[in-house]
Structures are given as C-alpha cells and as structure tokens.
C-alpha cells in the first residue's frame, strides 16, 4: 500500500507544489493549512509521515511537533523551513529529519524515501 504523507504548510502554492511532486514520486498526500488542522488530520488516522513547516501563524511547527511526539510517538516528522539556524534550537532535535526549503525538491524527496523505507 502507498504511504501517506501529511503536508503542513500555510503557503497555498507550496501545498500545491508538494502535493503534485510527492504524488508523482509515488506517495499519497493529505494537506493541512495550519498546525491545528494538522492535528485533526492525524487523529483521523492513516498518516505515515508528517512534513511540517516551522513558521506558521497560530500553532507553529515546533508546537505541532511536541504534540505529535507526545501522542503518536512513532510517527516520523520532517521539519521544513527557510531558516537553517532553527536546526539547533527550539527542541527541533525531536524531529526525525530537518530540511531547508528549496524550490528543488530532490533533497526533500530523498529524505522522505530514506525515512519511509526504514519503517516497517
């Protein structure tokens, strides 16, 4: 069965981009436009990995990460942001991987493949 990735980003264009690229790469994609929405989607089940933007209005990525790691300990989370300096801050160490946003999604897709390949 295809693995399902939850993409959480407040930027509409990026959600569209991720959805198309990741589906093309062979995954199923669910979208969430905010931190709050992302938790509801995870509750609905069937998510294998969360791709999470850090900087969002309302509940930000770090907060979502905390909730996820509390309630769904084994659900992998990949953090995604414009800022390389977040890497060592704000408890982002709890995430499974960290990717700096780029219009070239090669690195991101490789990271996702590595993590999803390892599981199960």
């Amino acid at each position: 069965m295809k693995k399902r990735i939850l993409v959480v980003d407040d930027e509409e264009g990026l959600r569209l981009l991720y959805k198309e690229e990741l589906e093309e790469a062979g995954w199923e994609v669910t979208l969430a436009a905010s931190g709050e929405e992302s938790l509801r989607r995870i509750e609905e089940g069937k998510i294998d990995l969360v791709l999470l933007d850090i900087k969002m209005p309302g509940m930000d990525g770090v907060e979502v990460l905390r909730h996820v790691k509390e309630r769904w300990k084994d659900l992998p989370v990949v953090l995604c942001t414009a800022y390389p300096h977040y890497k060592h801050e704000f408890g982002t160490w709890a995430s499974d991987a960290y990717v700096i946003k780029s219009s070239d999604l090669t690195e991101l897709k490789q990271t996702l493949k590595d993590i999803l390949g390892k599981k199960r």
């Binding site: 264009g13 690229e21 900087k55 414009a82 800022y83 390389p84 060592h88 946003k101 219009s103 070239d104």
Partner: protein
C-alpha cells in the same frame, strides 16, 4: 603700555575662548609693544614632523619663515641649547647670526628667542627680531620670561581643551553608533520578516514553474520564458539564502576537529566543477594534524565560498592550489587561483555585502566567509597578484591556544 599691563593682558588671554592662533597673534602684538622689536613670531613644536611650525606672526620686515627643522636656525638652537632666553646679534659680515645662517634674519640685526617650555616639554619658541642693534635690558628680559610662561599656559590650556573636545566627540560618536546599532537591529528584524515573506512564495513560483516545464516541450513557444523564470527564481533563492545566513548568526556548534579534514571535504564538492573548467586542483596539505575547535558545517561554508570564487575566476584551464600548514600556534589555509586577480579598483569592496562583478553573483560569498572565520576568532587575508591570481589566506588558532589573531 607698560610691562605689567602687558603681562596682565597676556594672563587674560589664557581664559579667552578664541582659537589658539588668534590668541597667539594677540600675544605677539602685545610683545611688540614692549620694546625695540619690529617683528614677533611664535613657532610651535610639531613632535610628529620634528619641526618648528609658524603659528602666529606680527610686525614689519621680511616675512617670517614658515618652518624650521629640528636643528635649523635660531629656533633649532633654542631646542639644542635648552636655554630659556637667548640674545643674538648679526655678525659683522651681516649674513650669519651667531655663526649660523637663518634666512628669517634677512633685514634684521638683533634677535631674542624665548623657549616655550615647562618642566615636561618644549612647546615652541617666541622669536623677536629688531632691525637696529639693541642692548639687553634685565627688566625687559625678566618680563619677557614671565610672558613666555604665560604663553605656555595658553598653549597647554588649549591642548587640554582639545583633548576634552576630542573626548566629547568620541562620546558623541559612540552614542551615535549605539543608536545606530539599535536601528540596525530593528532593520535586521524587519529584513528577516520580509525575507521570510518573500521566500515561501518564491519557492512556489520556482517549484511550480519547474513542474510546468515538464508539460512544456523544449521547442514549444513560451518555453523560453519558463526557463527564464526558473533561472531567476534560483538566483533569488540563492540571494535570500545568503541574506538569511547573514542575518541569523546561529550559535556555533564547536567541536574538536582537524582542519585538513574540513578543507578536504570542501574541495571534494568542487571536483566536478573544476573538471568542467579544465582546472587542476593541487592539494598541498601538511601531514600534521591541525587541531581546531570549529563548527564544521559553517567552516565548510566559508571554504566553499573561497573555492567557488577561485574556480569562477578561471574559465578554461588554470590551477587551484589549496595548502595547509601549522605556523607556530596558528593554522594557515591558503586558497590560491590562477584566475588573473582582482581589478585593483574593486579590491577594497570585495568583502562588502552585495558587492559582485558577476552576472549571477549575490555578493554575499565573501562577507559570509569572513563572518564565519571571524566568529571562530580567525582572520582572512587577501593577496591580490594582478595578472596572476588571488590567494586567500585563512588563519585560525590551534585548539586550546589563544594565539592572538584577534584582540
């Protein structure tokens, strides 16, 4: 005017707020009233240039000489002799005075010089000249000596004032800088927000344009526009990445490392690029371990930028020489190219953010490299060999040693 009145007026000059030259000018005029003298000049000692420089002169006759070297003329003699007051007469021949030639005595036949000094220093010389030969007068001599002391106090007061003014100017500047740094911080904050607001939409523009490319064949109309769009977004992305790196100094993740390894890793990234350019990479590494405390990822970024620049300066063929060595307690890494060097007109600007001579450069490569090396308490030096190439030298302290590259 009698002598005591003159002394009193000189005393008042010490508290006058006028510029020093004006006050010395006035002092000269007062001294001329004492006596048979026709010209008064005051020279100040310039310890940097080691010369007496004319500051004020009043009177008739040929103009006073502008400067006297340390051992020239009567002022020079005052310094050498250490005497307070000295009288000199023209020789019988009428050209030399006391056996030395002083062009300032043309047309005069008698001179009195007074040292302007106190216990700590020589400040200058008062040079009084008379056309007619005159006799010494003890009362006048002692009044002139007092006058000289008063003029010394005028000059010293001025020095203290100048120092005081300098201090207040420094303070004002410091304050301005502080205000400025607050402004800079507010600006950096704003810039960081703007950059974030720009980055996300830019990524979707670039990413979606990339996707569109898959649907638009190479020879389709409009493909050219699409290529241009993706090209420009990549450039903007690079620029924004650089700005983010400049704005956010993430904490250094220092660990013990070997500089040879770090530099090696940087070089490996560029093998392919070098090959494409027909550039030969020469590694001259020391066999010694180069122990350093560094943030490996950041330090690599610094060398990536230096190596990228070196390669970009060599279009087809050339040699990139990267060498490492230990020099006493400092680690020295040199990145040298044979790309012809930096145009001397631009040499002073290459470390300025956004300075670039490249069509697709961001101008942030060197400022970032510099900031990273600086934060590791190291230095970057540039040796620009015009027509040959450039050598960038990075110096860092060995682990655990304060080698004093930076204060």
């Amino acid at each position: 005017m009698n002598l005591s009145a003159i002394i009193e007026e000189l005393g008042e000059l010490a508290n006058d707020g006028a510029p020093l030259t004006n006050r010395l000018q006035r002092a000269c005029a007062l001294l001329l009233e004492t006596a048979p003298f026709d010209q008064c000049a005051i020279y100040l000692w310039d310890s940097v240039n080691r010369a007496f420089v004319l500051n004020a002169s009043v009177g008739t006759g040929s103009a006073a000489i502008e400067t006297y070297g340390e051992d020239e003329g009567l002022p020079g003699r005052v310094k050498a002799s250490g005497k307070g007051l000295a009288a000199s007469k023209k020789d019988l021949s009428g050209t030399a005075i006391d056996g030395l030639i002083d062009a300032g005595m043309r047309g005069f036949s008698y001179a009195l010089t007074l040292a302007l000094r106190d216990s700590s220093a020589l400040y200058g010389v008062i040079y009084l000249k008379a056309v007619k030969k005159t006799r010494r007068n003890a009362a006048r001599d002692s009044a002139l000596t007092t006058a000289a002391a008063l003029i010394v106090s005028i000059i010293r007061g001025e020095e203290i004032n100048a120092r005081h003014r300098r201090k207040s100017a420094e303070l004002a500047e410091l304050q301005a800088r502080l205000i400025n740094s607050e402004k800079v911080m507010a600006l950096a904050d704003m810039a960081s927000n703007i950059v974030h607001e720009i980055k996300n939409p830019l990524l979707s523009i670039g990413g979606l344009a990339n996707r569109l490319k898959k649907h638009v064949p190479q020879d389709a109309p409009g493909r050219l526009y699409l290529d241009q769009i993706t090209h420009e977004t990549v450039r903007l992305e690079k620029l924004i990445g650089g700005i983010i790196r400049c704005l956010h100094e993430s904490a250094l993740e220092l660990q013990s490392d070997d500089m040879n390894d770090i530099v090696s890793e940087s070089i490996e990234l560029f093998r392919e690029d070098a090959m494409r350019r027909g550039v030969n990479i020469v590694k001259k590494f020391t066999d010694n371990r180069l122990p350093v405390r560094a943030d490996r990822e950041q330090m690599k970024i610094a060398f990536d930028n230096l190596i990228a620049n070196a390669l970009q300066s060599m279009e087809n063929s050339g040699t990139l020489t990267v060498s490492t060595c230990l020099d006493n307690d400092s680690i020295v890494v040199k990145v040298a190219d044979s790309g012809g060097g930096i145009d001397p007109r631009y040499e002073n600007y290459i470390f300025n953010p956004f300075f670039t001579t490249k069509k697709f450069g961001t101008g942030l490569g060197l400022p970032i490299a510099n900031a990273i090396v600086m934060r590791h308490k190291g230095v970057i030096e540039v040796d620009n060999n015009i027509g040959v190439g450039v050598t960038f030298t990075v110096k860092l302290c060995s682990e655990g040693i304060e080698c004093g590259l930076r204060a």
